[in-house]
Symmetry: C2
Subunit: 471 residues, 2 copies
C-alpha cells in the first residue's frame, strides 16, 4: 500500500518551510503566507539561518534544530543547495518533501546531474519527493497550500470533488485561478513538475482511495512508467472516472514538450489506444478537461445515447441538435424520441402554439415554473437517457428562480441534467448558481453537448466492464 | 440601389412607436425606453389612442395625426391589428417599418394568412418591412435601439466594427448581452425574424456599403433567395469578410428549424459548397462566430500559414502547437521555422536556459518588456505569417503593463497577432483590455488558434480572387 506514504503530502500534521524568507517578494515568504491564508491547522516551522521570526512564526536555523516531528518539508532554496538540505531532512527523518525550486532537469546540463543527486539522496533516506520544479499541493479540505503565488495573483478554488493533477505548474495555476472564478471546486491539486520521484502512477493510486475525490482530472505531457500507469488507470477508472489532457500529442507538440521538460512525449496513437482501453476519457481542447470532470463529478452517467433538449430559445435548440446529432463535427448522439404520453402531458404546460417535440421549445413565453413542469415530465420518459437544458434568461418572465426550479427536479431523479446558458453578467451569475448547487453548467450550448457525450461514454464503459466481469 | 431604401432603419430622422404603453411591463413602454436610453437624437412619436404622455413624450392617437414626416415606424400591437396599422402607415407615407409583434408565420394556421396580408399591404404602399416576430435594430453609432428588452436584462454592446444580423431574436439577444460583457463592439445589429420582406440579401447589400461595418457576422437558419444570396455574398466578401452560423445543418437540426420557424433549412452539403465558393467563413460552434468576426474586424489577414507562438507557459505553448499543427483535431497550420538571425537575436532577450525556438517559451521569468522585445524580433521574421501570444499573468514579474507593451508592437507592424490568456478575474480584465485596444483576445488557447486559421483562410481567399481577376 505505497499510497499510504503519500498521505503526509495531503494531511501533514506539521510542515517545515526550508528557505523561508522575511521578504514578501520572495517565494520563501509566500509559502508561509499561503499556509497561513489557507488556515493550515498543524504546526509550521520556517527554516532560515538568518531570521528569528517571520509572520509571527518562530524561525529555525536548520531542520535538525526542530525538536518535534516534521511530517512534510517544503524546499525553496536555490537548486545547488537542495542536495545538502535533502540530506539534513533525511537525517531528521522527514518522509515527505515538496521541492519547489527549479533549475534541475528542465534546464539541462548541470541541472540533470543535480536532479539525479537529489533522487539518490531521497532513495537513500526513504524520502517521498514531489518535484522539483513544481508548485506542489493545494488541498482545501485539509487546508494545505504549498503554492508560492499570492492569492491576489492566483485565486484558489473552493472545496469540491475533482482531484486535479498537473505536470505543468503554469497550466495548473492558470486552471486553478479560472476554477476559482467559475465556482468549480477541487478535492485537491498537485503540480508534480519534473517528477523525480512521485509521478502519475503514485498519485492515481493515492487518489483511488481518496474518498473526497470523485473524479480525477489530469494534465500530462508525458506519462512515466507506461505499463504501471495503464494498470493503475484501469483499476482507478472502474471506481472513479479519469479525464486527461495529453499535451504534445502531435509530432510538433511532442518536440515542444521535449525542449520544455526534457522528456519524450510518446506516440499518440499508442497513447490513444491505451487510454481508450482502460477508460481514460481524453480532453483535447483546454476547456474540455473541467467541462468533462464537472459532469462526471456528479456521479450520474447516461445509460444510453438518447438525449432530450429543453430550451426557451428555438435557435439554441437547433444549434444543440446540430452538435448532438452530427457524426463528423458533433458528438453523434441521438435526439430522444419522446413517448406519446410524454407529448400528451407536455401539451398541458407548453404555450398553445409550441409544438411538443424534441428539442422542446418553451418559446419566449417560458417561465421558471414551465421549465420545472416540463422537466418533470421529460425526466420520467424511459426513452430519455439524459437532458440538456438551455436557459436563455432574456424572455420577460424568466429570472434567477429558474435555478431553484431546476434544482428541485434535479434532486428528485437521477438522470443526468446539464445546463447551457449564453449571455452577459446575469447569465454568468446563473451559471455559477447552478454549478454551486452541483448541476454542471456551461456558457455555450456545444460545450454542454460534449459534456453529455462524455457521460454517455462513461455509461458505455461501465456497462462494458460489468459485462466482462460477468463471465 | 435598393440598399438606399434601408437607410431609414439605421439612420431614421424620426421614429413612431405604434402600441406605445404607459405600463413598464409592456413591450410598448420598453421600446420608448430603449430609444431614450440609447440617446436617439431624432423625434420620437409614441402612438396610443388611450394615452396623452409617456416618459415625457407627447402621445398621438394614430399615425395620421402626426404632422411631421415619420422616417421609421416600430409596430408592437397584437398581430391581428397589424394589417390595419400597416395601412395607416402606408397612407401616412412611412417607408420603413419594424414589426416586433409575433403571432405570424411562426405559429402556423391563421398566422400564416396574417403574414401574407401584411406582406401585400407593404408591397401596395412600397413599405420596406423588417420582421414580423423580431427584435429589430440596434445601432450604437447612430443611436437607434428598437429592442424591447430593458438594459438590466440584456446589455448593449459598445460601438465597434462588426455588423451582426440574426434570424433568431433570442440568439441575437443572448449574443449581444455576451458581447457587451466581453467589451466587443458592434457597428449594428439586426434581428429580422420571419423576414416577410427584408432578408439576408437586402441586409448584405446594405452592409456592403456601410463603411463602419468591417466584417459581417450572421446567424441564419435558412437562407432566402439562394441565388441572389450567393451573388451578393460573392460581391460583399471581396470587400469585407462574412462569417456565418448556419443552424439546422444536420437533418435533425433542420427538422427542428422547420417546426421552429416554418421554413426549410436546405441540404447542408449544398450550403457548404456555396458558402465556400463565395468566401463565406462558416462558424460551427457558437463562440466561433464572434471569435472569427473579431479577428477579421482588425483588417489584418495572414498571407501564409506559418505561425509563431510566444508564451510564458511551456504547457500552453505545447497545447497551442498541438491544436495548430493537427490536421484532424486541429487546424492544420504550420509552426513557422524561425530564421537563424531571429534565433540569434532572440537569445539576447530570453532567459539563459530558455531554448529559442518556436513555440517560444519565455518561462516563468517572463516580463512584459521581454514579451515586447521578443515580439519585435519575431514579427520582423519573413518566415512568420502570424503570431499567437499566450499570456499567463501568474509569473512573479508579469502584470497588466503587458497589454501596453504588446499594443506597442502591434501598432508598429501589420501582421496579425492574436492573444490567448487563461485564468481568473485578473486574466479576464487583461483579455478585455486587449480587446478594447483592438487586439483580439480569447480565454482559451484553442480558440485563438482557430481564429488564426480563419485569418489564414481569408488570406487564401483574397489571393485566390486577386489571381482570378488577373486573367
Amino acid at each position: 500500500m505505497s499510497y499510504k506514504y503519500l498521505e503526509a503530502f495531503f494531511k501533514p500534521k506539521s510542515i517545515a518551510v526550508i528557505g523561508a524568507s522575511r521578504n514578501p517578494e520572495k517565494i520563501g515568504y509566500q509559502l508561509l503566507k499561503s499556509l497561513i491564508d489557507v488556515g493550515y491547522e498543524g504546526r509550521i516551522y520556517p527554516v532560515n539561518p538568518k531570521a528569528d521570526e517571520i509572520l509571527g512564526l518562530k524561525v529555525y536555523p536548520n531542520v535538525m534544530s526542530i525538536k518535534d516531528e516534521v511530517d512534510l518539508a517544503i524546499i525553496a532554496v536555490p537548486a545547488p543547495s537542495v542536495p545538502e538540505v535533502m540530506k539534513e531532512i533525511g537525517i531528521k527523518g522527514v518522509k515527505c518533501v515538496v521541492v519547489i525550486s527549479g533549475g534541475f532537469k528542465e534546464v539541462g546540463g548541470e541541472g540533470v546531474k543535480l536532479e539525479e543527486e537529489v533522487k539518490s539522496i531521497a532513495k537513500e533516506y526513504g524520502i517521498r519527493l514531489i518535484g522539483p520544479n513544481c508548485i506542489g499541493v493545494y488541498d482545501p479540505h485539509n487546508k494545505v497550500d504549498t503554492l508560492f503565488l499570492p492569492r491576489g495573483k492566483a485565486l484558489r478554488p473552493v472545496k469540491g470533488e475533482i482531484a486535479f493533477i498537473s505536470q505543468s505548474g503554469a497550466m495548473g495555476v492558470a486552471f486553478m485561478d479560472w476554477l476559482a472564478m467559475e465556482g468549480i471546486g477541487l478535492s485537491c491539486f498537485v503540480s508534480y513538475g519534473n517528477k523525480a520521484d512521485v509521478d502519475e502512477v503514485d498519485l492515481l493510486e493515492y487518489l483511488m482511495y481518496d474518498e473526497k475525490s470523485k473524479v480525477i482530472a489530469m494534465y500530462v505531457e508525458e506519462v512515466s512508467r507506461g505499463r504501471d500507469f495503464i494498470e493503475i488507470a484501469r483499476r482507478v477508472s472502474m471506481i472513479k472516472p479519469i479525464v486527461a489532457i495529453k499535451a504534445g500529442r502531435t509530432s510538433e507538440g511532442a518536440k515542444a514538450v521535449s525542449s520544455h521538460t526534457g522528456a519524450l512525449a510518446g506516440r499518440d496513437d499508442i497513447v490513444d489506444a491505451a487510454f481508450k482501453k482502460v477508460g481514460i476519457i481524453r480532453a483535447y481542447d483546454t476547456h474540455e478537461l473541467f467541462d468533462y470532470a464537472r459532469a462526471l463529478a456528479t456521479g450520474r452517467v447516461a445509460w444510453g445515447d438518447r438525449i432530450a433538449i429543453v430550451t426557451d430559445g428555438g435557435g439554441a435548440g437547433v444549434m444543440a441538435t446540430d452538435k448532438l446529432t452530427d457524426e463528423k463535427r458533433g458528438v453523434g448522439l441521438k435526439l430522444a424520441e419522446l413517448k406519446r404520453e410524454t407529448i400528451r402531458e407536455l401539451k398541458k404546460y407548453l404555450p398553445p402554439f409550441a409544438i411538443p417535440h424534441n428539442p422542446i421549445d418553451l418559446t419566449g413565453n417560458a417561465t421558471p415554473e414551465m421549465y420545472k413542469n416540463v422537466l418533470d415530465i421529460v425526466c420520467r420518459d424511459e426513452n430519455v437517457d439524459g437532458i440538456i437544458v438551455i436557459v436563455l434568461i432574456h424572455p420577460p418572465m424568466m429570472d434567477e428562480s429558474i435555478v431553484d426550479k431546476i434544482s428541485e427536479v434535479y434532486k428528485s431523479m437521477d438522470k443526468p441534467i446539464l445546463i447551457a446558458a449564453t449571455g452577459g453578467e446575469p447569465t454568468q451569475r446563473i451559471l455559477k448558481m447552478f454549478q454551486e448547487r452541483g448541476i454542471p453548467s456551461y456558457p455555450e450550448v456545444e460545450r454542454t453537448v460534449k459534456a453529455m457525450r462524455c457521460l454517455v461514454d462513461r455509461g458505455r464503459y461501465l456497462i462494458k466492464i460489468s459485462q466482462k466481469n460477468k463471465y
